[in-house]
């Protein structure tokens, strides 16, 4: 009862600082994201998705911007359009007409409305068929909103495969010829199939800067012959957009949301665990050293001094290079390298003062053991003063983890913020202008640091009242 009252009192005095309120709100949001992530996407699933390679992500565009970007951009970027004959979709029809005993004719028509101001990034047609001896033969047509019908390809649909329209050299050449014929001169650039199939066919098509897509209803018509009675064919047309999801995608078509979401609980737990355990262990070492004195003090202090002269980051990098560590082993290594840190020195100085306080002497007189004195009398005495610096040191370890990931030394499996930055960096994101790819994880990192900093600074004002006057 009284302790809950005291907690409320404490929160009241804390939240009179707006910075504390802001920091807490940021941290609460991050914690909420973490909880949601851990529940909604189990870790195994997340790592599986992140490691799965192209197959799972085949329907996603590469390097797509987050879809909310459309609200801010003057040109409306295309979303991904997927038309699948196995699914019952509006605009997709598949008719099979028997032609005699064995053979049958199949007509697939897929239509969609294209209302965007930019061309799609890629077009793929995936097909799947079953047959015993002779595979179905397909002819693929493209019809644009003006009714121009173009034969794209003759296709033998064997088992499972894909027709990558975007990399069809023949189609490219054909479109180029078509433009030349129509306007009497070569276009000033290579017309890719995406542009050729979606562009407005007027003078603008001759220049890359002016060409724009024709809005309206597009159709893909596939006519084919099935040679066997049991034979069937299904196709999936994917017109890849230039925006995707909450966070966009990377060069491997992966949805960045997964790594951004999972980065949150990993960063928080990594930072908090590291900061907390290092501070507590340092404090225990310092208390033992100060209280027992003599030889124990000598040994602990010499170990600390030696450890302080060993450069932290190079050692850590060396260990991380030799043993490809997962993130929790990395955490343990960081803790192990830091517990004999400078904190031992500062805490010891405080404990040396506390050691001679009368109440410690009194405790000794009524028979309190060394352990009891250290944990019950000495450590609680300095605990309030170190809480602010403890909170402030959390981002250090969040950044450290990200830094290691950027150096390529992070956990090879876990999706983290640092990992995204690493991927973006090695894929030349900034060079190619994929700013969102770098900015998203960086913003989250900065936000985390900001949250802890705002809270820590306000806690400092409460626990060290002398700061308030400054």
């Amino acid at each position: 009862m009284s302790s809950s009252k005291r907690a409320i009192q404490f929160l009241k005095s804390l939240f009179q600082y707006k910075s504390a309120l802001a920091g807490s709100v940021i941290l609460l949001i991050l914690v909420a994201i973490s909880i949601y992530t851990v529940i909604a996407i189990p870790y195994e699933q997340a790592t599986y998705l992140w490691q799965a390679g192209k197959d799972i992500w085949l329907d996603n565009p590469r390097n797509a911007l987050p879809s909310w970007m459309n609200t801010f951009l003057p040109k409306k970027l295309p979303e991904t359009i997927i038309l699948d004959t196995t699914r019952n979709q509006v605009g997709v029809t598949k008719i099979i007409v028997p032609l005699g005993k064995e053979m049958s004719k199949v007509i697939i028509e897929m239509s969609f409305v294209y209302n965007y101001d930019d061309f799609p990034s890629e077009i793929n047609l995936f097909y799947e068929s079953n047959f015993t001896n002779s595979p179905p033969q397909l002819i693929i047509y493209w019809v644009n909103p003006e009714g121009v019908k173009l034969k794209l390809k003759d296709l033998t649909a064997s088992n499972k495969g894909a027709y990558y329209l975007s990399s069809d050299e023949y189609l490219m050449k054909m479109l180029q010829e078509y433009v030349k014929e129509k306007f009497g001169k070569d276009p000033e650039y290579d017309i890719t199939p995406e542009i050729g199939l979606f562009a407005k066919y007027d003078e603008t098509i001759l220049k890359k800067e002016t060409t724009s897509p024709l809005k309206g209803e597009y159709r893909m018509i596939i006519e084919g012959v099935l040679f066997e009675k049991e034979s069937d064919v299904n196709v999936k047309l994917v017109v890849y957009g230039k925006v995707y999801g909450m966070a966009g995608t990377d060069h491997l078509r992966r949805d960045l949301t997964i790594a951004l979401l999972w980065g949150t609980p990993i960063a928080l737990s990594f930072g908090i665990t590291a900061a907390l355990s290092i501070a507590i262990i340092e404090m225990i070492i310092a208390a033992v050293s100060a209280w027992l004195g003599g030889r124990v003090d000598f040994i602990l202090q010499r170990i600390t001094e030696i450890n302080m002269t060993i450069p932290f980051l190079p050692t850590l990098i060396m260990i991380a290079v030799f043993y490809k560590l997962n993130i929790w082993t990395l955490l343990l290594v960081i803790i192990a390298l830091s517990i004999f840190g400078p904190g031992v020195k500062t805490y010891r100085a405080a404990f040396l003062q506390i050691r001679s306080f009368p109440y410690i002497d009194a405790a000794r007189s009524y028979g309190a053991s060394n352990i009891r004195i250290i944990f019950f009398y000495m450590i609680p005495k300095i605990l309030p003063t170190i809480i602010p610096s403890l909170v402030l040191s959390v981002p250090d370890f969040v950044f450290l983890e990200a830094a290691l990931a950027i150096l390529g030394l992070g956990d090879p499996i876990a999706p983290t913020w640092g990992k995204i930055i690493d991927d973006a960096f090695s894929a030349g994101a900034l060079f190619k202008g994929y700013f969102y790819w770098i900015i998203e994880p960086s913003l989250l990192l900065i936000l985390t640091a900001l949250g802890f900093a705002l809270l820590g600074l306000s806690l400092d004002k409460i626990f060290n009242p002398r700061l308030r006057e400054v």
Binding site: A362, Y366, G367, S369, F376, K381
Partner: protein
Amino acid sequence: MSFLEVKDLYLYYRTRKGTLHAVDGVSFSIGKGEALALIGESGCGKSSLARCLIRLLPRNVEVFDGHIYLNGMDLMRLSDEDFRKIIRWRKISMVPQAALNSLNPVIKVGEQVAEPLLIHGTASREEALEKVRKMFSLVGIPEAFVERYPFELSGGMRQRAMIAMALIMDPEVVILDEPTSALDVLTQANIMNMLKRIKKEYGVTFILITHDVSVSSELADNVAVMYGGQIVELSEAEDFYKAPLHPYSQKLMASIPSLRGEKHLEYIPGSPVSLINPPMGCRFADRCPYRMEKCSLDPPSITVNKSYVKCWLYAK
């Protein structure tokens, strides 16, 4: 043999300037339920003597030797761990000198006072807190104070809490090291009265260490005067306050104002003897008005009536 008997007790500290003879061959005895007042000026070894009795020694001890018999058991032969388990707080407890600062600031007073019981494992938490309440009413603290933190208590209350803590395990001997030194006179009187009551009702043996002669007169059955690490006089209280024997005791009494009658207050010339390399012979000799040639030899303990005095004046 008496209830508590101390024989030839020595405690030397190692310091940078040399060996400090804090307790230098002290012997005395107390009967059960009696109170001994240990009087002396600052730095004469009173507190060191108290620390010897409860074996609360600093790190720089050079010599710690002698015999302390409690009920016939030689405490000096116990190991540190045994001493902690058997003697501390079960037999001998202490109210430390800086009692006002002797409470852990981060623990509630009630729990702090219960600590000895919990440490020695003689009671569960609830029983211990129950005992604390009992003790609080005995020493005159409202029971609600169990839930308070030390900074919420006044000096007198904190002092009472420390006394409650000293009494909580029903020890036979309680050492009071300057129990009232930082308190106002009214609170002093209250606490001394409370101690008197406890002594009468519970038969606790008190060793009262003080530099305040008038406070000591409230409680003491016997008075020991310490000077330069030695007990120079040990008398029954009545005799002592009426007619002290040792020149130092006489000078001490002469420096205290009295209620009745005109009194010319005296002081002792010179400064207290250094306990590092103390002089041979009588340690008070340099300041003594009765200095004789013999005084450069160490005086023996001489029996005068019921008193012991360490002075050549009384040698036959």
